[in-house]
């Protein structure tokens, strides 16, 4: 099918790069990544429903450094997408849509997501012990 002769969205190349744009891209990226997180969660549940051995294997793999790194990424993706999702919901109600507020709330969301991720992992290690 030939491409229609009208402007197509999104025209990323015509925009000057800016902070709020990076956050928007990150929202989309973390959203798709959380799909992989859902598969991970499903894998865990299915293993638990299959046998203690299958569960132990998942536990072993997720316990490795690479596994933990993936889980750390999953934690950040979930927390960021959640915080930024609330920001998007506020926009849906017409709140905070002006540039100044949108930039400021972007910083708040990003820093909060980083802080909450670090906090969650500290809590996790504190509870677990190692």
């Amino acid at each position: 099918m030939p491409r229609p002769a009208r402007p197509l969205s999104p025209h990323l190349s015509v925009y000057r790069f800016q902070w709020t744009m990076a956050l928007s891209i990150l929202h989309r990226f973390t959203g798709v990544a959380l799909g992989a997180g859902l598969v991970l969660l499903t894998w865990w549940l299915v293993a638990a429903a299959t046998s203690p051995e299958a569960y132990a294997e998942v536990r072993r793999i997720t316990g490795t450094y690479a596994g933990r790194l993936v889980l750390l990424g999953f934690t950040f993706a979930l927390i960021y997408h959640l915080c930024n999702g609330i920001r998007h919901l506020a926009w849906d109600f017409g709140v905070g849509f002006d540039l100044r507020t949108a930039r400021a709330s972007g910083w708040v969301v990003f820093l909060a997501a980083v802080a909450l991720t670090v906090g969650a992992w500290f809590a996790g290690y504190a509870i677990r012990g190692h």
Binding site: V32, L34, L38, T42, V46, G63
Partner: protein, 97 residues
């Protein structure tokens, strides 16, 4: 609005997963067996998979402009979500019932 429902649900899920980090088989399965946990798990899974489906549909709409390709991608998205969510939900029910 699956996004609104996912605010409390994903906070619950995140807190639960945090408390279950590194849990052994017995701890994990007995947690899933609790009726309230099983119900909330099914809810958060269903809502998350639905939310993922509509989100990825928007991404497909934005980046794929060839009609048949767009339809194919959306069909794959739907099949993926149905298949994986069925497996996840079945696993929860198998453990809980």
């Amino acid at each position: 609005m699956s996004a609104v429902a996912l605010i409390p649900l994903s906070v619950w899920l995140g807190a639960s997963l945090l408390s279950l980090a590194g849990a052994d088989y017995l701890t994990f399965t007995s947690w899933v067996m609790q009726p309230l946990n099983a119900i909330l798990l099914v809810l958060v899974l269903g809502t998350s998979f639905y939310h993922f489906k509509v989100g990825v549909d928007v991404v497909i709409e934005d980046y794929i402009h060839t009609d048949w390709l767009k339809m194919t991608a959306r069909a794959f998205n739907l099949c993926f979500v149905i298949a994986v969510s069925a497996a996840a939900t079945f696993a929860v029910l198998k453990l809980a019932i």
